[in-house]
Amino acid sequence: MALTARQTNALRAGVLLSPAYLWLTVAVFLPLSAMLFFSFLSAAPFTTDDWHFTTSNYTAFFSRSLYPDLLGRSLLLSAVVTLCCVIIGYPCAYVLAKQIKGRSREALFLLIILPFWSNSLVRIFSWAIVLRGNGIIDHTIEAILPVDVSINLMFSFPAIVIGLVHSYLPYVILTCYLALQAIDDTLIDAARSLGAPFHTIFVRLILPLSLPGLAAGAVLIFVPVAGSFMEPRILGGRMGTFYGTVIEDQFVAVFNWPLGAALSFILLAVVLVILGAASPVLRHAR
């Protein structure tokens, strides 16, 4: 039976798309579904034959205040890091997008983005070196001021924040830069010709138009940080217990996979709620 031309097109599209999307299904979507299923089990089916369905993993979350507290702590960390990144990053993006022109702009932008693409573990490690006591900070300050200092920032909440801000800052600069750069300069010229002072132009024109980019950057920082465990462990030491580290423990140390799955899923639900709430704004983002 000869295919109509229309059917041949559909076939071609299918052939081109299926490998990639099959892979994504097997590697991402099926695992996520499996994890959901898993979270309702009492024990991993491949370790023992004695398992049953239960909601005890989820009730465990609510029964002890430990887990909600840690989730709250992680979300707080996310909020702090996101806020810092936005406050530091947005002006930088603005300067790059609006004030610096030409080749130097491209070069600077590239320089800012480059670290983002290198290994985040290694970058956190570099902060571990810098922040430790009797290290470079002490020596630099001692070289400038006539005081004897011993600043040890390691293994503290601020250390974790610094490391995470350093990791994710280029991301928010990228999204804000794209959004700001897309604002037509002639719009600003028009506003100026109508007599508007800078702060009015900024609040009523630039900020609203760049908001989708800002929101995109904020969301894409908030979400990963909420699940981070590597940075807290390295920079936080004993202070570095967060929701993410607890989940990690379930899989790596305690081997209570169903509980880990349930905790993961709760985090995923929170993340999806946040993404959902932000999506109207994000829809306009590039």
Binding site: A2, L3, T4, A5, R6, T8
Partner: protein
């Protein structure tokens, strides 16, 4: 060479009917102009014949055989795009040879045919250039050469001249016609420029809102348009309102304009129309006879327009446009009473449309 036919083709884009039950025959070897305002569906029809889009109902036939199951690459068509679509990564010669290369024609044969067609479009010797090194007119000719070198059954042209400036466009019209005559290929030419269509085509079809309004030879369509839309789309027309009776159109002041084709049955809703170039304008009342239409009115404006002068005459509230020779301007003054007359045979009777 083959005849192309579309039968009852309907095509929707979402809720919009881009083509509505269109049936047309494009005769073998003829140059057919598809004309219409933007959004009329003419490009849609062309692309449906090419095979890039598919009708929801109806069929497309090339050489008498339906082509629903035939993909674009097997329909043996040649197509020219408005933007020429020359492959930027290939030389002119490679661009033209592309259709032959994919058909696995032998290298020597390819070189011979490419050389032949380059001479045909008068671009001999430019084979090694890249598209970006050519002028607009040259690119257009490369696009044409590329489309015809494979000896397709049908040539489809999608507004190929609209990107060119006026002088170049007129030259290319002549070229296109010459080449088409020489190779005798069935050609479908889409354009929104009615003058271009009238000049080039052996037959014309007018589309409006996805429907075929009328088709025929340029002269037929020009002198005998079927309705108001066609009459005003092709060239310029004056429309005259009045009461339709069996012997002619009766105007408000009692003037009778006889029908061009004798008596007509009563009860039809008809409009009389006449082209500006058919009307004779005079300051003195002309002789009346049964086979002439005569009107009087007030000259509002007479404007010099190069070879002619354009006059606007107010006749009982309606403005008629008349062309006069440019040397007659001197005798005319705004506000004077003038007489318009023309042979009744040149009146056009239109259905209400």
């Amino acid at each position: 060479m083959a005849e192309v036919e579309v039968r009852n083709v309907t095509l929707r884009f979402g809720a919009l009917k881009a083509l509505d039950d269109v049936s047309l025959v494009f005769p073998d070897g003829q140059f057919f102009g598809l004309l219409g305002p933007s959004g009329s569906g003419k490009t849609t029809l062309l692309r449906a014949i090419a095979g890039f889009i598919f009708p929801d109902s109806g069929s497309v036939l090339i050489g008498g055989a339906p082509v629903e199951h035939v993909p674009v690459e097997k329909r043996e068509i040649g197509m020219m795009f408005q933007s020429y679509a020359l492959f930027p990564n290939m030389s002119v010669a490679d661009n033209i040879a592309f259709g032959l290369t994919v058909r696995r024609v032998a290298g020597a044969e390819i070189r011979r045919r490419v050389g032949e067609v380059l001479d045909l479009v008068q671009l001999g010797g430019l084979g090694d250039r890249r598209p970006h090194q050519l002028s607009g007119g040259q690119r257009q000719r490369v696009a044409l050469a590329r489309a015809i070198v494979t000896r397709p059954r049908v040539l489809l042209l999608d507004e190929p001249l609209s990107a060119l400036d006026k002088a170049l466009r007129v030259d290319m019209q002549v070229e296109l016609k010459r080449i088409q005559r020489e190779i005798g290929i069935t050609t479908l030419f889409v354009t929104h420029d009615q003058e271009e269509a009238l000049t080039l085509s052996d037959r014309i079809g007018i589309l409006r809102d996805g429907r075929l309004v009328q088709e025929g030879t340029p002269r037929d369509m020009y002198h005998h348009p079927g309705d108001r839309f066609t009459a005003s789309f092709l060239g310029e027309t004056n429309f005259i309102e009045g009461r339709a009776e069996t012997d002619g159109l009766h105007l408000a002041d009692g003037t009778l304009l006889p029908w061009p084709d004798g008596k007509r049955p009563a009860g039809e809703t008809l409009t009389l129309a006449v082209r500006p170039e058919a009307i004779v304008l005079s300051s003195a009342e002309p002789d009346r006879s049964d086979d002439r239409a005569v009107l009087s009115g007030t000259l509002q404006q007479a404007v010099f327009s190069g070879a002619t002068a354009i006059c606007r005459v107010d006749v009982m509230g309606a403005t008629l446009k008349v062309l006069v020779k440019n040397h007659e301007l001197a005798d005319l003054a705004a506000g004077q009473t003038v007489w318009l007359s023309w042979p009744a045979a040149r009146s056009m009777v239109l259905r209400e449309a």
